[in-house]
């Protein structure tokens, strides 16, 4: 019975067989012999039958319990998988709404994807034309089909890049020293500043508390503001100086300012500069400030622009809360 419990039906029957032989040898007259006397036959038969039934019962009960446990385990795995899926969907949705509420991501994707898409559609038409020519120009059609594959792949790669840019993993928060973010950039931009004849003045408050955020995204914002400042002073005659400052605002916020001595912001422009696709640059696509604002807002901060207090130029400033809900 015990062996049937642990070993299943086969082991149970084997144990029954062994015990039957042993019972016959030791306990049934004639003792110490495998032969069975006629009087003991009835007892022996009953023992064998009992042993077999007990063994069978035991093994089948054991089997059903194992099956039950397996089913339960499987159910648990499925439930946890489904839960994880649901949580992921929810996170995706939350992330999506965070990004899409700004509207410009869609516009940005549309713009980026539209070029290869145009090429695909146009080449598709061309491919049909080459094939319907008389006689068909198979080599041209083949080349065109390859182009279609290339451009389709390119469109996919662009989507992937945009997705990576806004991936929620990318907003994996970490403690960020904003001064470090700025200094890394100014080192990196020294040559660019030299080339454009701009001097960069840093006025960073020492020992600023760290903020919770994404190092790379915050760097994108600061880089964008600095480059805008550079662009604003291109071609001007006044001394080109870009001031970058950081500081503490009250007990809950830090701020960063990027001040240029460019042409400044007219009141009609100031309202629009954060709109997607608004640009004053002939080469710009007008997404830099829109994306910057999205990033700062996703960090629960604010980004705005104002005219420089003295002389011409503009000041772009953003704030970031110190630690989430005062947990710094």
């Amino acid at each position: 019975m015990i062996s049937a419990w642990f070993g299943g039906m086969g082991a149970g029957i084997f144990a029954v067989l062994i015990s039957t032989v042993l019972v016959d040898y030791f306990f049934l007259p004639p003792f110490y012999s495998f032969s069975v006397s006629t009087t003991a036959e009835a007892y022996f038969g009953a023992f064998v039958a009992c042993a077999l039934v007990a063994s069978w019962l035991s093994s089948s009960k054991r089997e059903s319990e194992v099956a039950l446990r397996e089913a339960r385990d499987e159910l648990e795995i499925r439930v946890s998988e489904r839960t994880a899926e649901l949580m992921k969907t929810q996170a995706d949705l939350a992330h999506l709404s965070q990004v899409l509420s700004m509207g410009e991501l869609t516009a940005s994707i549309a713009h980026e994807i539209n070029q290869p898409l145009t090429a695909v559609v146009t080449n598709g038409h061309a491919c049909v034309e080459w094939l319907s020519a008389n006689p068909p120009k198979f080599d041209k059609a083949l080349q065109t089909a390859h182009k279609i594959i290339e451009d389709g792949t390119r469109a996919g790669a662009i989507l992937g890049r945009i997705r990576a840019l806004f991936k929620k993993e990318a907003i994996a928060r970490d403690w960020v020293d904003i001064n470090e973010v700025i200094q890394e950039l100014t080192v990196f931009l020294r040559n660019e500043a030299l080339r454009r004849g701009v001097s960069i003045r840093e006025d960073l408050a020492p020992k600023l508390p760290k903020v919770m955020g994404d190092h790379v995204q915050l760097q994108q914002v600061v880089l964008n503001l600095i480059m805008n400042g550079f662009d604003a002073m291109d071609g001007g005659t006044s001394p080109k100086e870009l001031a970058i400052r950081s500081g503490l605002e009250g007990a809950n916020e830090i701020w960063v300012q990027v001040e240029d001595r460019g042409t400044g912001l007219g009141s009609e422009i100031a309202d629009k500069i954060f709109d997607p696709f608004f640009t004053t640059k002939s080469q710009g696509i007008g997404m830099g400030l829109a994306i910057s604002r999205t990033i700062i807002e996703s960090h629960e901060g604010q980004l705005w622009a104002s005219p420089r207090s003295a002389g011409t130029g503009a000041v772009f400033q953003f704030t970031l809360p110190i630690g989430p809900k005062g947990s710094a």
């Binding site: 516009a107 070029q115 146009t122 061309a126 034309e129 080459w130 451009d151 390119r154 002939s282 080469q283």
Partner: protein
């Protein structure tokens, strides 16, 4: 004087779009020249053939609308078909007001592009024929003597030989002779024909 095969110029900074448009136009038997910027287009000498321009609105450096303006100012009246990824109504109306043939949103359909291009080439062809005719008339006119030009001006203004002669202080016979020379040199077969010619190339006779 005219290389007969029409040429389509394509300016787009995106290489794949540029090459795709070229491929499509070549597949229907058009000859194509592509440029990646308005500057490159302006620096390249273009064949003397009926042509039109497929122009992206958003371009590095000067954008398409600025090129349209600059070409118009420079007296280059090449028909333009604009293509753009995200055009708005003011942009389109500005382009069309300035004489663009068509304003197409990317991705565009083959028929729309080809119709616009054929329309553009046809318009350019007509314009070039007119220009050639004016140039021919102008050179015939240049072969007239000073007196013959005077006579022609007065004749097409509706004066009789007698009136012309009186005004220029010459005899009616001499006027008739000059007039005959004008008709011959200008290759006019009637007075009405001569008046039509004058309308085409003499500013004061334009309507």
């Amino acid at each position: 004087m005219i290389d007969s095969a029409p040429v389509v110029f394509v300016i787009d900074d995106d290489a794949s779009v540029r090459e795709a448009v070229k491929n499509l136009l070549e597949s229907v038997g058009l000859s194509v020249q592509v440029f990646k910027s308005t500057e490159e287009f302006r620096q390249t000498s273009r064949p003397d053939a009926p042509s039109c321009l497929v122009l992206d609105v958003r371009l590095p450096g000067n954008n398409g609308l600025e090129l349209q303006e600059a070409l118009a100012k420079g007296g280059i009246a090449i028909p333009i078909i604009f293509i753009t990824a995200h055009g708005d109504v003011p942009m389109a109306s500005r382009a069309l007001k300035a004489g663009a043939i068509e304003f197409l949103l990317k991705p565009f359909q083959k028929e729309d592009l080809l119709t616009a291009i054929h329309h553009g080439l046809e318009r350019d062809q007509i314009k070039r024929e007119e220009q050639a005719e004016v140039a021919a008339l102008r050179s015939r006119f240049d072969n007239l003597t000073a007196r013959e030009r005077e006579v022609m001006h007065l004749v097409v203004a509706g004066l009789t030989n007698k009136e012309v002669g009186a005004q220029l202080g010459i005899s009616e016979i001499t006027t008739k002779m000059h007039r005959g020379q004008v008709m011959r040199k200008m290759q006019a077969d009637s007075l009405a024909g001569l008046v039509r010619m004058a309308q085409k190339f003499l500013p004061e006779n334009r309507r």
